[in-house]
Symmetry: C2
Subunit: 344 residues, 2 copies
């Protein structure tokens, strides 16, 4: 996977400052769909079933939805998620809503696509804890309804593969788009869609410098090629008191993936879309409120002590980024008639 780091950022930054229009774009209704994983209603439905199916975890208790609750914010609203056996990791679950617009996945960008991302947690020993891909396929193969659907959706005898599990989940995730936020309606011409505070906040995030990184349709960076992540060092100003208070330097970020010292404390820039709903905040979930997250970011990234008014206005703007959540039908998970799959 390629990367887009600090050096390139400064060039982009100049451009941003000169052209706020570039920073602000409404959320498209449809995301990029890779050629090798075209969407279909049957594939999306299969992916939805898999997304909700706790049998994708070793002991049948954790599904994708457990930590990325699509009935809510697409997160679990916890600082860090809880996997099989009550294990916890060090990072907060990013929202699955609009993740299709990110050009790299995970906080450290270690997955280039939603397909790559979907493969991770299932096998992560502290998350869903399946021992290996083969075990996943064996388990799903024991569920007649999945065998049938994989064959119908992907065709052929080997249709129930780990790659296709990931493809189906990714296809479902590409439907998780929340358009029509007050901000989007404003951009689309409804000049009364934003409150005065939100309008002030919209100017403030540009003036202060937030949109140097938080730009593009998802406020997570520019429209790079899929797989090219948009990273930033966090914290940038490590002498802020917040760094110690919230243990912001405990996590080495992307360098743990690349083994490159230049990537230390580099993180993929997270989305602002629906951020009102996804507390707590920061990669480790250490900021309990959005106000505090805004203060932390102002200080650690821009070396600015934001005033109460600035924080309030910025939060008002961020609150205008909550979109419409599409109505969804519940999936019906295929059964294993007369026999249980989880034996522990």
């Amino acid at each position: 996977m390629k990367k887009f780091t600090l050096s390139t950022l400064f060039i982009a930054g100049t451009f941003v400052a000169a052209s706020p229009v570039w920073a602000f774009q409404p959320l498209p209704l449809h995301p990029y769909v890779p050629q090798d994983n075209p969407m279909s209603p049957a594939k999306v439905e299969l992916g939805k079933q898999l997304f909700f199916d706790a049998r994708l975890s070793s002991n049948g208790t954790v599904s994708c939805n457990s930590c990325h609750d699509v009935n809510g914010s697409g997160t679990d609203n916890r600082a860090v998620s809880v996997g099989v056996g009550a294990q916890t990791g060090g990072r907060s679950a990013p929202t699955v809503w609009n993740s299709a617009f990110l050009t790299a996945q995970f906080w450290d960008g270690r997955a280039a696509t939603l397909e790559d991302q979907a493969k991770g947690p299932i096998l992560n020993p502290i998350e869903m804890a399946m021992p290996n891909e083969q075990a996943v396929i064996e388990r799903l193969s024991s569920i007649p309804g999945y065998k049938t659907q994989f064959k119908q959706v992907f065709g052929g005898e080997d249709s129930l593969s780990y790659n296709n599990v990931a493809k189906a989940i990714a296809a479902y995730e590409r439907t998780l788009i929340t358009p029509n936020s007050p901000f989007d309606r404003y951009l689309n011409g409804n000049k009364t869609a934003l409150s005065k505070a939100a309008l002030r906040g919209m100017k403030e995030v540009q003036a202060v410098g937030c949109t140097t990184c938080h730009n593009g349709v998802n406020f997570a960076g520019p429209a790079l090629t899929m797989g090219v992540g948009f990273y930033q060092k966090f914290p940038t100003f490590s002498d802020s008191g917040y760094v110690k208070k919230y243990k912001l330097e405990d996590d080495l970020g992307r360098s743990a993936v690349t083994q490159n010292k230049d990537d230390q404390h580099m993180f993929r820039v997270p989305t602002w879309r629906n951020i009102a709903l996804t507390a707590p905040y920061l990669h480790n979930g250490s900021a309990k409120t959005l106000d505090e997250a805004v203060r932390v970011m102002g200080k650690t990234q821009l070396n600015k002590d934001l005033s109460g008014q600035q924080v309030n206005d910025i939060v008002a703007f961020l609150n205008s980024l909550t979109g419409d959540f599409p109505k969804q039908s519940m999936p019906r998970l295929p059964a294993t008639p007369n026999i249980g799959l989880i034996n522990e």
Copy 2:
């Protein structure tokens, strides 16, 4: 709560044997609704949100749906469920589907109604582990969307009460009905709805004696007054090899609730509806397959070694009891804008 035990059972048993029609009734489309908790679309929708909301557990990881998955069988298809902190209990989660037709809830019948039942797991320290009712109300009161809905549904300033939480959940659960199984279609006049094996099994369950207890609309006993549970001793024939193999006498059953020695090993008779989907079986989930559960029940309850043919036919009949699951829309869980509720 009253009880309906072995002594009364024998009277009913005679009646059953004389009248198979009494034993077999199609599933009604609507359950009994208590006068003090009338149904309304808004109440059902609120109950659905609560049912899916993991914030009803101490650490925000376990919802009602975690163990009673309505996307599937209404159970978690595990021997015993997993609560907060990966704790496990000793009993298998009964299905929530058609639970509205039961006249008492829990394996030991300790709740008279769905309302009473809903109050239990939220406060159970090994399940959802909220410390007390007040903590539940405080948490839900921090969620503006709930405050509004409770007021709309129940009226008044004190509308957000633990009683009303239970009422809303129960109202939702009363919509979880699965009519129109092959067996129901057969009873309603479609004589080709059952396979030959299922028809043989239908006779077999009467001839062998299963329907002495497994009768009524839910195959969980007769239509008693709500709150009057229908209990049976399990195991009845304790010299069966299955008793040791599956540790069937480890659980004292209803006597742990009543402190009455006569209630030792007494359990509420569970439903047969959708039993094909709810493996593993028995109160402790020790029987991995339905075939084995049928063999165990034949031996421990009727002292009969069922033949392979008998088991196959009975399983075929039980498989005809899988109904139609209603299409449901996903709930949208109300948010706590800009702040997280779970602080641990």
